[in-house]
Every structure is written in C-alpha cells, then in structure tokens.
C-alpha cells in the first residue's frame, strides 16, 4: 500500500499544472478555514467607508453597506466551499448507493432505479433548482440539499456501469461460487473497486456545485445576505454602475470562483490519471 501511494503521487506530479493547482487550492482552503483569524474585519461589520476603492485600510475596498470586501471574500469562500463539499458528499453517497443496488440487482430493481435516474436527469436543471429554491426557504442548507439531489444521477450511472463490468470478473464469480453473502460482495469486493472513478467524478461535482451555488445566489435564490457567499457578492454586479465603475466589488469574487473551479478540475483530471495504474511508465 505504501508503494501504491508513492506510485499515485508520482503519476500525479507528472501533471505540472495540477500540482500548481493543488498548491493554490490548499492555500485557498486554508485561508477559508482561518478566516476568523486572518480577516481584517468581521464579515458583517459596517465601517464608516461606503463603496470605497482599495486602500491601505481596506485592501479590496468596501461595499455599498460599508463592509470590508476582503473579509467578506474570505468568509464567502467558507460558505461556497462548504456548500460545494456538502452537496458533493450527499450526491455521491446517494449516487453510490443507488448505483451499487442498480448494478448488482439486475431486473426490476435496476429498471426502477434507472427510470428514476433518467427522470431526474431529464429535468431542466436550473429550472428545477429555481423552483425548489422558491418553494423551500432559501438558505445555505436548502441549497446544499437541492444541489445534492440534482447531482447524484451522474454518480449513480457511473457506479452502475462499474458494477456491471465488475460482475463479469472472475473474482466476482469466485465469490458467488464460494457462497459468499451479498453484503460481503457489495461492500467488501465491489465498492473498493469503484472508489477511484467515483473520487474523480466527485471532484467535478464539487466544481459544478460551487458554480451552481454562485449562480443561484447571484439570482437571489441562494445563500441570503448578510451571510456572504461568492455568488451573492456578485449580486451587486447586476447594476451597470457597479459593473463599469466599481470593479473591486465583483472582480475579486468572480476571479475566485474561476480560480477554484479551474483548480478543482485540473486536480480531478490529474487524479484520474494518477489512480489508473496502467499509466505507469
């Protein structure tokens, strides 16, 4: 196992861009985690300056309510990363479970689960999220649950396909031939062999969730102010005057979203290559 991990690390580091992205991501996550200690002001603290440009006191300026943009940005990253992470965890857990069941029990169980999966997949995504956000009380946790519900079909299909191919392997047949119980075959034999592709897929779900949270909050259906999120910080950019004359109100948040999503995707790509032993040369 030790040598296995070293092999994975070596294959990962062959992707230079991904290695850089991993460093950036680590710094950003640390900054988000340490926000209460490193941010110069509280996220909702109102100072005497309103809509001021960057200065020594406020490195990234202040917003229309006089709050420090840098401080809000750090806290917003906390919110966005939490939403992304939790939504990914929920959708991955649901997807893995349904995918396992669907792939293992062929027949009517499979048909029911797949029909439901296709149904969820065929809904116009953003519309579903908007309707759900309108029905439930907007807030961080409803966003997490909504995104978690929307993202699982991809995972379920991925896992189902994997299980179907694992069913053809001889070690699966040997387990059947040895009369091993279902729970052993499912969780001890099949599940560990689907972890790698799921992990890779989860990174892209993570990135998409961050984008979706930003989109929803931008539309005012997501995380509600005064709690900062990367999306609702961009909300102000809906006004032309801010867009043209007060770039410090939207450029930092926008760039941070781009940076997070690009980095996560690069890391995911490298992870896919790193986890595949066939790439060892």
């Amino acid at each position: 196992m030790q040598s296995n991990l070293r092999h994975i690390a070596r294959r990962f580091l062959r992707h230079r861009a991904a290695a850089v992205c991993l460093v950036i991501l680590t710094v950003l996550i640390l900054a988000a985690l340490l926000a209460p200690w490193i941010s110069p002001y509280g996220p909702t603290k109102v100072t005497k300056d309103f809509s001021k440009g960057p200065s020594a006191e406020h490195l990234l300026g202040t917003d229309q309510s006089g709050r420090d943009v840098l401080s809000r940005l750090l806290y917003a990253m906390r919110t966005s990363l939490t939403v992304g992470l939790m939504a990914t965890l929920i959708s991955t857990a649901v997807g893995v479970l349904l995918g396992l069941l669907s792939g293992y029990f062929s027949g009517w169980v499979d048909r029911c689960i797949m029909a439901f999966t296709d149904m969820v997949m065929s809904f116009p995504y953003i519309l579903l999220v908007l309707v759900a956000a309108a029905i439930f009380e907007p807030g961080m946790w409803s966003i997490i649950l909504i995104l978690g519900f929307v993202d699982w079909p991809g995972v379920a299909r991925l896992v189902r396909g994997n299980v179907l191919s694992l069913r053809e392997t001889n070690f699966f047949k040997a387990d059947i031939a040895a009369g091993m119980p279902r729970r052993y075959i499912l969780f001890s034999e099949i599940l560990p062999n689907t972890i790698a592709p799921v992990l890779v897929y989860a990174t892209s779900v993570f990135a998409i969730s961050i984008l979706d949270e930003a989109a929803l909050s931008f539309l005012g259906m997501g995380v509600l102010p005064p709690t900062p999120s990367l999306g609702n910080m961009l909300n102000g950019a809906q006004s032309i005057t801010i867009l043209t004359s007060k770039p410090w109100l939207w450029v930092p948040a926008g760039s941070l979203i781009i940076l997070l999503v690009v980095c996560i995707n690069f890391v995911g790509d490298a992870l896919r290559d790193a986890l595949d032993p066939r790439n060892d040369r």
Binding site: N170, K173, A174, I176, A178, G179, M180, P181, P192, N193
Partner: protein
C-alpha cells in the same frame, strides 16, 4: 472405483441459449451430457473452442442454471435447490478460472483473499487462520511470505496457485478447473500440471479438468471425455482415449498437435476442413459434415458404443475395428 458412489454425477445436462427478439433463435451449447466423477479421480474434458466445455463447467458450479438435466453432488441434487440452500453447500464444490488476472480482487492481499471465505463458512477459527494460510500456500508451492502481497505483484502461474489455494481452503469435495493452464506459458503450464498431479496423489483431490489440449488433459486425468458441439463423442480411460482413439474427431484432435519426434512427422494425419457448427445437426451426428469416414446413414446413430474397459464412442466406425489409418 465404480463400486462407490460418485462424488458428482451429471445426467442429461443441457443448456439452451435463446437470442433474438422473440427468443426463437436457439443455441444449444450443451446437449445432453452425462458422466460421473468418483473420489480421488481427475476427469478431463477436451474439445475445441465453443464446444460447450466451459458452459458445462459453469453449469456444474451452478453459476448458470442448466435448462435440462440434473447435477448431483454426494447424492444431493443441486440444480433444484433455492439460492440460500445452494449458498450453504457451495464450499463443497469450488472452481479455478482460466483468466487468473481477474480471478483475484486487485485491492486485497492474498491473506484476505484466502481467509475471508474460510472465516465466513467457519472452516476455521480466526486464531488458526494464519496457520492455515501458511499450510495452503505451502500446498500450492508458494512461500508463506506472499500472503502480504497484492495480486498484481504475481506472475500468471503464481496467481493460478493462489486461486487453487483459495479453492482448496474450503475443503471442497471437488474442484472444477476451467482451462486453468490455457492462459499460461508452456513452461509454467507444466509446473501447474505437475502441481495438480501432486495434489491428486497427496490429497486425493477430486477434480474436473477442462482444457483444449489433449496432451495436457491426458497428463493429469484418469478418465477423459471428448466433447464436440455440446455432446460427448468419446469417453474412456485417459490411456484408451489418448492411445486408442475410437472417434474420428478424437483422432483429428490428436493429429492436430505438433510432434517433436522426427519419425512422427511423416505420419498420416486427419486434417479437418471447415469450421464447427452452422448446419442443422440436431437429429444426427454433429461431426458428420467434417468427417472423412462418413458412410451412408452413419450420422443417424448417436448411441454410445461400448468398446470394453469403460471406453465408449459415439461413432459407428468404432465397432468395425477403429478409425483405420
């Protein structure tokens, strides 16, 4: 041997696959196969690709339910059992597969691969597991240190040994070996074949050995059945079938293998034309379309003709003094 009850007994076993939208197109992969295997015996099944020998092995393991016929293990009929009853009996008949690469879970150590089924079926206690793994690895000729390794660290031959150790770990009454050496290098094949012979001698291992090379089957088996398109065309003691083949197909199989003996090179061979299958042969001898000795009406006689000493052949020519040269 014939006096005691057989370990496994197969009666009129058949498997019909249906394809097409309405299931009207049928492929009869195995067509009415019967035989018995007695304790301590190795029964070899030979035949070309597609003759149904692997389907036969899978049916014996109940990995596929036969469409007709019965499989009886130690007097207990297996094919009519429910899934739960069958699972409880499964340790008694184990299998080794052809492709050793996919036979072992790549994420588990050999130790876990071997012990998990044993512990589940209470073949041994957790405290004795290490001791048993050591003994089993010794039995299949692997050093005990390999228990901590992962499958990808082994060669094909070593993996096949691990598979054999896993199969033997449950103390089975019979081991079904489905082309266990076909994917290995020739030198490694010989090692595995020797191992199988040793296991038969030292542990009185009962097995069904499936392969497509008659020489390998002759080397490890006591009795041999030759299959052609789903049916057994000749069966008998290993020496009878190998040295005194009575069915033209067996002759052709023997003639097809190259010989290192210079004097043998000029021998007269039966070389088969065309490929197996295709025509409708459901009511007659499946081999008649390729048979060089075909005579008027011979293809309609499908009965197994006794040649003495447990040697049987489906060919009418067998009665008239062999296949001739």
């Amino acid at each position: 041997m014939a006096e005691s009850a057989p370990v496994i007994s197969v009666e009129q076993l058949a498997m019909t696959y249906r394809d097409g939208l309405t299931g009207r197109r049928r492929t009869r992969a195995v067509d009415g196969v019967s035989f018995q295997i007695y304790e301590g015996e190795t029964f070899g099944v030979v035949g070309e690709s597609g003759c149904g020998k692997s389907t036969l092995a899978r049916m014996l393991m109940l990995l596929e339910r036969p469409t007709e016929g019965s499989v009886t293990l130690n007097g207990q009929r297996l094919d009519t059992l429910s899934g739960r009853e069958l699972a409880a009996l499964r340790p008694k008949f184990q299998m080794v597969f052809q492709d050793s690469g996919s036979s072992l879970n790549p994420r588990k150590r050999v130790y876990d691969i071997i012990t998990e089924p044993m512990l589940y079926h209470h073949v041994c206690e957790r405290s004795e597991a290490a001791q048993r793994v050591k003994a089993l690895l010794g039995l299949v000729g692997l050093p005990e240190g390999v228990a901590d390794r992962y499958p990808h660290e082994f060669s094909g031959g070593q993996r096949q040994r691990v598979c054999l150790a896993r199969a033997l770990s449950l103390d089975p009454d019979i081991v079904i070996l489905d082309e266990p050496v076909s994917a290995l290098d020739v030198s490694v094949q010989a090692q595995i074949l020797n191992l199988l012979r040793d296991l038969k001698e030292t542990r009185r291992m009962t097995s069904l050995f499936v392969a497509h090379g008659l020489a390998a089957v002759h080397y490890v088996s006591d009795r041999i059945a030759v299959m052609y398109l789903g049916r057994i065309v000749e069966t008998g003691s290993a020496d009878d079938v190998f040295h005194r083949p009575a069915h033209p197909y067996t002759r052709a199989l023997l003639d097809a293998s190259p010989s290192a003996d210079y004097a043998e090179r000029g021998r007269k061979r039966i070389v088969l034309a065309g490929e197996a299958g295709g025509e409708d042969w459901s009511n007659g001898c499946a081999f008649c379309t390729r048979c060089p000795f075909r005579t008027e009406g011979c293809e309609r006689d499908l009965s197994m003709k006794a040649l003495g000493g447990g040697h049987f052949s489906a060919c009418t020519r067998a009665l008239n003094g062999g296949t001739g040269a």
